[in-house]
Structures are given as structure tokens and as C-alpha cells.
């Protein structure tokens, strides 16, 4: 089973051959090209030198193209996984959590996937859908990857997933969960190890409904996900919503909205503020003195990425999530423990999902005994979710979205004095997303 391959970098030979071949193409093209030019442009009687120089430039340009091509012609044997995430720019921190988790998963697997050598090619989508799409094309066509994985953002996912599945390659999403892909656009070849976007706010809605809360004030950024979150919340929360406020995407100062909120005097506040928006909102909410007065319930807002920056301003905050570092199971203990040891910081759900993504791929390759051409077999294996997930045992719904538990989490001061998320109770057991019935897939 174990193919003894030198590290991938050593596979330069075929690439060089490729270059030489391109060179040959060029050589044969040189003379005719020159003669065409002289016949078409009789007015330009220039010295031969110039023509040669032009040809040299053409040659160099084609060589660059050739180099690109050359890179790709490496050994075909190892499993190739293209992992697309945001690595540069403000969102780069999420990408780092994901990438580190992928590396940890590979380490746990002995740098083998399904027993085969593995090569992971990372791509930085810069949070732009068109760049993500280009990376996907590059991974499919140039690197000829067997799986594409990753993707933080719904809009990038909506551009990338159909490209990948359309090319007959398996896509394993490890964060974004747009409803389109859980519903009408679901695909045999598309899996996600995270969730459908709405599941998390649904859990929060359920919890707040169960608590008999009413007079809730809802806030989110003014974009598609923000509105989806609030509507997901309202699917299970049937009490009175005092007001729904949508703020500018990327807004930094929430003082005006916080003043309005105080004016309405709600009993509870539900927010969705991912990333730096969340850090700013939480700090300003605490600074306004509201933390002690009106409890804050949030989704995708307080996590292991934002907690170190927010600190005690998050104290007492409620979140719902399918996973937490303190979730009790063997796989999770190993993941969280080794992660902290290796990278020196606490992993987040972004990381856990990405770790799971690699394990899911491993389970598929293992099931087909390394026969990467056997897509049907791999899909069938993945549908069983037969791997030791950091969230414990779960199953896939017909639309390849996890059916999983959701927990209520609370930001508390841990034993070491640092802030951490602690699981309080289970809100949903084996929760299904709201869109699977729109997915025509049967299995």
C-alpha cells in the first residue's frame, strides 16, 4: 500500500521534460513566425536582431507559461487535496485556524490519507468569489486534485462548489453553509462537515423560546447572512421581537445603535456579528454598561478567535454551537490537546470542522482502498460519516449536511483566568436543517 515517494518537490523531472518539449514547439515555430511577420509588414525593414529579440521575448513568455505547466506535472499517485480559505487580509486569522487544523489532521493520520501519500495545496481566496473560483479551476485543472475542501464564506462557496462538483470532483466544505447548497442546489459530490447556516440561530431561537423569553431585540449586519440568521432565529422563537436592526457591513461603531436599543428597553438581545464586528460590538455593549442589564445571546459572534481580543467584555454571553473545545469525547480531547500543544492557542470550530473534513476524506479513500477513480464508492463511504469526529458521532442528512446536536455555550472565566466557552446544556439533539426537503437527492 505504502508507495515510497520522495517528497513532492523532487518530482521536477517530468516538469523539465515538459519544458523541453515546449521549447521544441517554440523552435519549430520560430522561423515561420518570423517570415509571416516580414511578409505582413513589408514597411518594417528592420535588422534581424530585432526580430530575434522579439522572438526571445516570446520565448521567455512561453517559458513562463511552460513553468506553470511544468509545476503541475508531478507524480499522479498521492492523494491531492486543494484547500481554499482566506489566508491574507483581515479574515486571514480564520484561514490560519483552518490550515493549522488541516496540518494537525494530517499529522494524526501519519501524513497519509487512506494509506496513500497526501499533498495538500492551499489557496488564498482573499475573500473574493472570483478568486476562489479561479483557485478551484487551478486546483482542478492544473493540480488535478482529488478533493477540494475549505471555504469560509457563503458567496465564495456558491461560486466554487458548483465548479468543483461540475468537474466531477468531490467538494468537502468546512465552514460555509449557504441554504442553496443544502436545498435545491445539493449535489452527490458536495459534503459539508460544518452546518447549514440557519441551524445555529435556530438552536438559539429554540433555547430562548424554551426559556419563555420575550421582548427580544435582534441585530445583525445588513447582508444576506445577517438576514438569514434573524429569520433562522425566528423560525423557533415565537415571542415578541421588539425591533430588528440591520447595520452596515463592516461597521466599527455601534454606539448609536446601542443608544437606540437602550431606548427600547428590551428583555434580551439577539445578535449575529461575525469577526471584528463582533469584537467591536461586544466591547461597546459592555462599555455602555448593558452587559449587566440586558443579557446578550449571540451566534457566530463569540468564539475562540474573538475571545482573546474581547476578554471580559464577553463574560456571561450565550452562544449556541454544535461544538466547543470542552465537548467531551475522545477525538475532541485529542484534537484540542494536540492543537494547543502544537500551535499554542485554543482551536475554534472553524478548525474542528476542517480537521473533520480531512478525516472524512481519509475515511472515503480508505473505503475504496485508494482507488481514487471510484467516486461512487467514496461518496457512499462518506455518507456513512464513518470517522471519529470532534463533535462525536453524527450522521449525514440526504443533502449531505450533518444531523447533529446543538449546545448552549456560555463565556466564562476558566480555571487559568482566561475566558473560555463552556457547554451549559444540549438544546437540540440530532437537529436537521430546514432545507433538506428541497434537495431532490435520494439515497
Amino acid at each position: 500500500m505504502a508507495h515510497l515517494h520522495p517528497p513532492t518537490r523532487a518530482h521536477a523531472d517530468p516538469g523539465q521534460r515538459q519544458l523541453r518539449r515546449l521549447d521544441g514547439v517554440l523552435e519549430s515555430r520560430r522561423l515561420p513566425a518570423a517570415s509571416i511577420r516580414t511578409t505582413q509588414w513589408p514597411g518594417m525593414r528592420r535588422t534581424k536582431e530585432v526580430t530575434v529579440r522579439q522572438l526571445r521575448i516570446v520565448l521567455v513568455l512561453l517559458l513562463i507559461v511552460g513553468l506553470f505547466a511544468g509545476q503541475a506535472v508531478l507524480a499522479a499517485e498521492p492523494v491531492k487535496i486543494g484547500f481554499i480559505t482566506s489566508l491574507s487580509g483581515p479574515a486571514g486569522i480564520i484561514g490560519k485556524h483552518m490550515k493549522d487544523s488541516v496540518e494537525l489532521a494530517l499529522e494524526h493520520l501519519g501524513r497519509k490519507v487512506g494509506g496513500l501519500d497526501v499533498e495538500v495545496i492551499y489557496g488564498d481566496d482573499q475573500r473574493k468569489p472570483d478568486v476562489g473560483k479561479q483557485l478551484a479551476d487551478e486546483m482542478l485543472k492544473k493540480h488535478k486534485v482529488n478533493f477540494v475542501s475549505g471555504i469560509i464564506w457563503s458567496n465564495v462557496m456558491l461560486a466554487v462548489a458548483p465548479t468543483v462538483t461540475g468537474a466531477g470532483t468531490i467538494m468537502v466544505g468546512t465552514n460555509a453553509g449557504p441554504h442553496e447548497l443544502a436545498g435545491k442546489m445539493c449535489s452527490e459530490l458536495y459534503f459539508t462537515t460544518s452546518w447549514q447556516n440557519d441551524q445555529t440561530p435556530e438552536a438559539m431561537g429554540k433555547y430562548m423560546q424554551d426559556q419563555g423569553l420575550t421582548d427580544v431585540y435582534a441585530m445583525a449586519p445588513n447582508y444576506a447572512a445577517g438576514k438569514d440568521m434573524v429569520s433562522g432565529f425566528k423560525r423557533y422563537f415565537k415571542g415578541r421581537v421588539v425591533d430588528e436592526v440591520y447595520t452596515k457591513l463592516g461597521q466599527q461603531d455601534y454606539q448609536a445603535e446601542i443608544s437606540q436599543l437602550r431606548g427600547k428597553n428590551p428583555k434580551a438581545v439577539f445578535v449575529f456579528y461575525p469577526g471584528d464586528m463582533g469584537i467591536q460590538f461586544l466591547k461597546q455593549y459592555a462599555q455602555a454598561g448593558l452587559r449587566e442589564q440586558i443579557p446578550l445571546y449571540s451566534v457566530y459572534t463569540v468564539d475562540e478567535i474573538s475571545l482573546p481580543a474581547v476578554g471580559e467584555a464577553a463574560l456571561g454571553n450565550y452562544e449556541t454551537r454544535y461544538w466547543s473545545p470542552d465537548l467531551k469525547n475522545e477525538a475532541n480531547a485529542k484534537y484540542v490537546g494536540d492543537f494547543k500543544k502544537k500551535f499554542g492557542y485554543t482551536p475554534s470550530f472553524y478548525g474542528a470542522q476542517s480537521y473533520d473534513g480531512i478525516l472524512l476524506i481519509d475515511s472515503a479513500v480508505r473505503a475504496v482502498r485508494g482507488d481514487l477513480g471510484n467516486k461512487k464508492g467514496m461518496v457512499a463511504a462518506m455518507r456513512k460519516a464513518d470517522f471519529r469526529s470532534t463533535r462525536g458521532k453524527f450522521s449525514f442528512n440526504v443533502n449531505h449536511t450533518p444531523i447533529q446536536n446543538f449546545y448552549l455555550l456560555r463565556a466564562v472565566k476558566g480555571a487559568g483566568g482566561d475566558m473560555e466557552m463552556q457547554i451549559q446544556k444540549t438544546v437540540f439533539e440530532n437537529h436537521k436543517d430546514a432545507y433538506y426537503q428541497e434537495c431532490p437527492m435520494k439515497w
Partner: protein, 307 residues
Amino acid sequence: MNWLLVVEQCLNGLQFGVMLFLMAAGLTLVFGIMNLVNLAHGSLYMVGAYLATAAFNRTGSFLAAVAFALAATLAIGMLVEVIALRTLYERDHLDQVLATFGLILFFNEAVAIVWGRAALFTAVPRALSGHLQVLPGIPYPAYRAVIILVGLAVALLLYVVVSRTRLGMLIRAGASNRTMVGALGVNIRLLYTVVFGFGAALAALGGAMAGPIYSVLPGMGEEILIQVFVVIVIGGIGSIRGALVGAVVVGMVDTLGRAFLKPMLSTVLGPSAADNAGPALASMLIYILMAAVLFFRPQGLFPAVRS
């Protein structure tokens, strides 16, 4: 309408405006005197925020941290001026935009390399974490009140410096007539470097004070930078007074728009239409304001006199 709330929102608007002014003052000076479009001004704000945060977390003294950030950013600003920007003054705005766009990329990544991509922990200093009762029923965060005071103090200080001191005379002269200042035998290069460093320090002050309420992370300067451009274009490029007025106007319009536009629209259009149109319109409001101002006064509200 609840008038107490309106008063509170006006305070919020003023505070946001003052924040914008700290950025705008430096930027407009650099515009006015060196005729330089500096997109990287937001990066200096970011650098100031990072330095202040790092120093605060280490020393525990907010004042010392701010002082350190000011001094260090002043030095960094002067260094950048000498290395990269000095040769750009005589170039057209396009070259300046491009080069400073490059500087943004550089600073964002450099900060990420030094401090990592994750947001740094920041908190309001203990002494300022309380609230003031501005009016009965309006508790106002003390820290934000301090921002307003500091901003107004800086405005006053700038006014005194620009109108009463020799440096200020040179600045005013430089803004209206560059060759004349040269004729006075002043070392123009040094003046430029000093002014640029000065603007950088102001940006750093803004960043240092923004740290505890916003998040300190790479790229934090860009969002506010664009708003600051709106401020100085509305105020009139090169004018400190214009920057102050523009900042307060933009701060007020943005804040009041966010607070009251939706309720006002819902009485006209009905609640569901207002839910859709309100936030969209509120986020575009300052740009609409800017377009309107420029339509009627292409030079802005208080154009610097230029001969």
C-alpha cells in the same frame, strides 16, 4: 420622538465626528501643504493603535502607552516620508494614490507578521470604564466623553498652533503659496517631514484611542479612512477648519441617519419597506451628502485659499 434620545445620539455623533477629525486633520494638512494624497494615512492610524495596545498591555499605563504610540508613529511617519513619499510631492495624484496603496498592503501585512492576524486584546483603562450622567437617564461612557474632550482639545491646540505660531504661519503660507515659503529661506524638506510626522502622530492618537472601543487588527484603518476622505472633501481640502466642520457634520449625519432614518422612513413607507430601505440608505448617507456638497460647492465648504 424621545428628545433625550436625540440628545444622546447627538453626543454619539459628536464623538464619532471628533474621532474622524483626528484622522482628517493630519490628512488635510498633508493634502494642503504637500499636495499629497496619502491613502496610507489609515495605516498610520493602525500602527498607532497597535503600538498603543502593545504598550498598554505591557505597561498597564494608558497614558504612557498613548505617549509612546504618538512618539513612535511620529518617527515612523517621518521615516516613511523620507524613504518613500518625499519624491512623490511633485508627481500627480495618481502616482501618489498608487504608491500609498502599495504602502497599505505593506503595512497591513507587516503588522500581521509582527502581531499575528488575530485581533489584539484591548480594554478601556479602569479609571475611565465608568459612566457619566450627562442628563438624567442618559448614562454616557466616560471613555467616550474623554474622546470628545481630547478631540476638542486637539482642535483648539491646532487652531492655536496654526494661527499663532511660526510653524503655523509656515503651514498656512505653505498651503497657499509654496514658492513663497521657499523664498523665505525655510527648509521646505524639513518642514514637510515635520508636518507629515505631525499628521502621523495625530492619526496615531486617533488609533490609540480607538483601540479600546474598536478592534485592533490588520486593515482596521481602511474603513475609517474612506469616511475621513469624505470628511475632508466635504470640508474643503487643506483646511483645518473645514476638517473639523466636515468631521462633525459627517459624524452627526451618519449617527443620526443610523438611529432615526428607519423609524422616519417607516412612517412614510410603512415598516417592511423601511426595513429594507432604511439600513441601505443609512449606509449610503454620507456618500450622498458628499455628492450633494460637491455638486453645489465643488471646492467643499471651507476651501483653503490658494493663489
